[in-house]
Amino acid sequence: MKQLALVIDLNVCVGCHACVTSCKEWNTSGNAGFMSDMNPYDADPTGTFFNRVQTFEIGAYPGTETVHFPKSCLHCEDPPCVPVCPTGASYKRKEDGIVLVDYDKCIGCKYCSWACPYGARELDENQKVMKKCTLCVDRIYDESLPEAERKPACVLACPTSARLFGDVNEPNSVVSVAIRENGGYQLMPEWGTNPANHYLPRRRTQITIHEDELIRVDNPLKKERQLPMPDPDEQTLDDITSW
């Protein structure tokens, strides 16, 4: 069964919040209604967001690492927020696994937000209904857009391509390959929610260079000479001729 999801590479995310702002921009302009900001220019402002980037420090000084952690609805394959909804406003789409809220059915009882261990749902203070990440469902199927742009706004905005989008149940999709090859994992696996969104862990980026790779072992002129090998600082044909 198709399950669309995001894969977020913590090794690449630089914490620029471009996904946060582009998400807010796209979804506040969407046909499902704007994402309210209350007192935006006043004391105690508050607003509705689908996506946040948080920052964590791992380890003890001086061996610390800063991890930027984008957080949005994980579109669980077994979403605990859906069965608790008394009105059926919260639902998981069969065709692509996106968890959505029907804003016309939601009564704003907040019970689904209690039943989400990740805190992915927010009550819109203006519309008084529960809101959450839609994986830009109004965008990814929009055939008036060029095919390359039929992706969630956050994915398109990411300057470092830390966000991948695709079907995690299709074994050869870009997200499945990334999860498989880079040790992708789920958040809070202890609750059995089976989140569709995966995170790629921090990885050590290094290459191994052996000493013989730094000198021209394949230089034919040197090869024909007698052993021992000439001094590495000695000129080669490359250094004295212009090909």
């Binding site: 948080q54 791992i58 749902r121």
Partner: protein, 325 residues
């Protein structure tokens, strides 16, 4: 969790009403088997049911204040197959309806004898309606408790004790009210209700204390490590991603100081259990209505504090993501 007063009033008020109905019906059932004297239909069962309805209506009104879109509340009855909240929404009006019917049958004497059991015990219509409504009262307690107990990662709530506490605390307050009510209408059942109010209150003390002890030594399954998936002993949040408030910072934190949190805990332990027991005992001895009414008032006030504490104590795993600004 942030305690919402709408839910605090809803759960405590309907708990009182359920307990009161159970008390009324227990009285009737005992009188059928000639253990207790028969009570007056008008002034006792009729008025008693009306009193229960007043509390139920109060709870229902309070529940609407919890909703962002109360005009769509009817939709919440549709998902009873999966949602305990929806089941509560179905059972509450049913319980209200049958409580009203039970009261009307008694008040207007529309109480035909259906059949006689062993030729001695008379089963009339009100007894049958009451039996069904008793089942509804317990179902409603169960639904209310399960709304909280079914969320497995709210570990303070995810225990059978939650359901048991809702049943016993509601019944205790209902029997306390029944005691005061019986004293007010001058019924002989004051001692019967008073004794049961004390017994149920003590039982509730045992189970509520058990849940407090359980929650004091709870081991949280989620940690910052599982929350962000980084296996390191030392993780510290440096930014939650925004400086202003959000739904996540308001809904899941009780916001009270550690001291007031402790005060509320001891306050409810005092007001719900020992004080009403003492007051009811004095009231039973002297037979003074005011003391029994005071016992109920004190217990209800304590239950408001108990419910506040019940919510405040629950620690939502999403709070792990909101440790620092």
């Amino acid at each position: 969790m942030h305690p919402a007063f709408s839910v605090i009033f809803l759960t405590t008020l309907i708990g009182v009403a359920q307990g009161l109905f159970l008390a009324l019906y227990t009285g009737q059932l005992y009188s059928v088997v000639n253990v207790l004297p028969v009570q007056d239909s008008h002034s006792f069962y009729g008025l008693g049911s009306l009193l229960a309805l007043v509390f139920l209506s109060g709870g229902l009104i309070a529940s609407f204040f919890h909703l962002g879109r109360p005009e769509r509340a009817w939709r919440s009855a549709t998902q009873w197959r999966t949602s305990w909240l929806s089941r509560e929404v179905v059972v509450l009006p049913a319980f209200m309806g049958l409580t009203a019917l039970y009261g009307l049958i008694h008040y207007f004497d529309l109480n035909p004898v259906l059949f006689k059991f062993s030729g001695v015990f008379v089963v009339d219509l009100s007894l049958l309606v009451g039996a069904v409504n008793t089942l509804l009262a317990f179902t409603l307690f169960f639904c209310t408790g399960m709304i909280y107990a079914c969320i497995k990662f709210l570990q303070e709530w995810a225990t059978p004790l939650t359901v048991v506490n809702y049943m016993l605390l509601g019944s205790a307050s209902g029997f306390s009210l029944a005691t005061a009510f019986a004293a007010y209408v001058g019924s002989e059942l004051v001692t019967f209700y008073g004794a049961w109010a004390i017994i149920i209150t003590l039982a509730a003390f045992v189970t509520r204390s058990a849940s407090l002890l359980r929650n004091a030594r709870i081991k949280y399954k989620s940690s910052l490590r599982s929350a962000i998936g980084i296996r390191h002993a030392q993780i510290e949040q440096k930014s939650r991603g925004f400086m202003a408030g959000s739904f996540n910072t308001r809904e899941y934190f009780h916001g009270a100081s550690a001291q007031s949190y402790r005060v509320v805990k001891w306050l409810f332990l005092l007001l719900v259990f020992p004080l009403p027991v003492v007051l009811i005992s004095i009231g039973l001895g002297s037979g003074v209505f005011v003391i029994l009414a005071l016992a109920f008032a004190v217990q209800y006030l304590g239950l408001l504090a108990e419910r506040w504490f019940f919510f405040a104590q629950a620690n939502h795993p999403q709070n792990l993501y909101y440790q620092t600004v």
